[in-house]
Symmetry: C2
DNA sequence: GTATGCATGAAACAAACGTATGAAATTTTG
DNA sequence: CAAAATTTCATACGTTTGTTTCATGCATAC
């Protein structure tokens, strides 16, 4: 095998097992959660020694934090970058709501760092980051998301005139619930038997899911503000 | 203390500890999940003996199943009952989408079996039931939800003419994600510090949350069908 | 070539886990 | 009231958990 096919980091013996541990933990965490995965499963999947995790990361929780951090930070950066590009493009004109939502949704669903199977695990991980109950991980994810939320809130407020900021907060909350549950369902569509319940349901391709999400979210955000306060 | 304040079941010594175990497990499961709760925590909270769980339920997983079943079945029954009542009321006329969504959402948010604190735990439990990875619990929840989904799918299809069944499936998926994530956020609103991020966000009362959810969902379900398939 | 620093290896650690056991206590039954 | 059935109790069992230890391998640097 040509060494040029290998990324520099995976050739570096200094970091090889460290990356292997991150990769293995990513897959297992995305499927069974942090608590549902033992360090012995991880080191077996990474073909490493039992002491490897504690040597390279100190503790299992610290490994978990790095696993999530490695993937979530780039997604959020990509979101902001896309919003930046959109706003630079249109100048002082108003952005369409669907454009903003595309910048928010697409980076989470098109996380293609490596192979196809890994891509699913990556998305699963991102989706799971919202429901992970590990305190440190939770804190990190929320903190990481702060800038993203701030930027997109402002952009959406401009695109949906007359939407009270308080309503925006709750609608963004609904929106994220829809995004992550939709993503989870999409990822495990083939494993789940909805045949009996939803015989007509088909699994759209990635683009189809994105479009369905965006149109649902755009409509939800544009809904008339309920009078009851 | 007057015994009339106690429910009949909690006076029955035959079932007292059994119910105490269910209550304690409900609270702990709703906060930390099944895996995140040990049998020793449960029996301590229920003021029972270590062997009590295995004596009354056989195994911890079996207890978990009963904990979820006890709460989720009534909610789903209430949903169907409300839809029945609505359809009986309007006869052959069409139901408004908001009415249908009210019947779907309200039972999950107005689960008032007992005291106020417990009510929150109950809703937390319902919301968590969707993300529990315990196989048996998952299977039960999905199976229990089948009739509900079937009935509401049909009703919504009538209220939103021209919506392809396949699109309905995904929009219902988004809808449930919004419902449960919104509910979780609402329940732990005071514990979470969004002050920095969303200084304008306020916690609406239960009715306010329901109204916001319904208007968001109704708009999302009524969104134009995206052309990309 | 030998010494130094880092990475791995196999084994053992204490603690926590769910569960099982058998004797005491309690309630129910005749 | 005594016998039988049921529930509680303290205790122990066998696993599995995350982490630690220390000896071994193996590079690079002197």
């Amino acid at each position: 095998m040509s060494t040029s096919l290998l990324s520099p980091v995976s050739r570096d013996p200094h970091l090889a097992t460290r990356v292997a541990l991150l990769d293995a933990a990513e897959r297992l965490f995305s499927q069974n959660g942090i608590e549902g995965t033992s360090v012995r499963e991880i080191i077996k999947a990474a073909d490493a020694n039992l002491g490897a995790i504690n040597y390279h990361f100190g503790t299992k929780d610290r490994l978990a934090l790095e696993v999530f951090a490695r993937r979530i930070a780039p997604v959020n950066r990509e979101r902001v970058a896309r919003l930046d590009a959109l706003e630079a493009e249109v100048g002082r004109r108003k952005l369409k709501l669907e454009q903003i939502l595309d910048a928010l949704v697409r980076p989470a669903l098109e996380a293609e760092g490596r192979g196809a199977k890994n891509c699913d695990d990556l998305m699963r991980l991102i989706s799971r980051s919202f429901q992970e109950q590990n305190t440190e991980v939770k804190k990190f994810v929320e903190q990481q998301f702060a800038e993203v939320a701030h930027r997109f809130d402002a952009a959406i407020l401009r695109a949906v005139p007359g939407l009270p900021p308080d309503d925006l907060f709750w609608r963004m909350c609904f929106l994220h619930g829809a995004l992550h549950h939709g993503l989870q369902t999409w990822l495990q569509f083939d494993q789940t038997p909805h045949a009996m319940l939803h015989p007509d349901a088909i699994k759209p391709d990635r683009e189809g899911l994105i479009q369905r999400l965006i149109s649902f979210m755009a409509a939800g955000l544009s809904a008339p503000v309920s009078k009851a306060r």
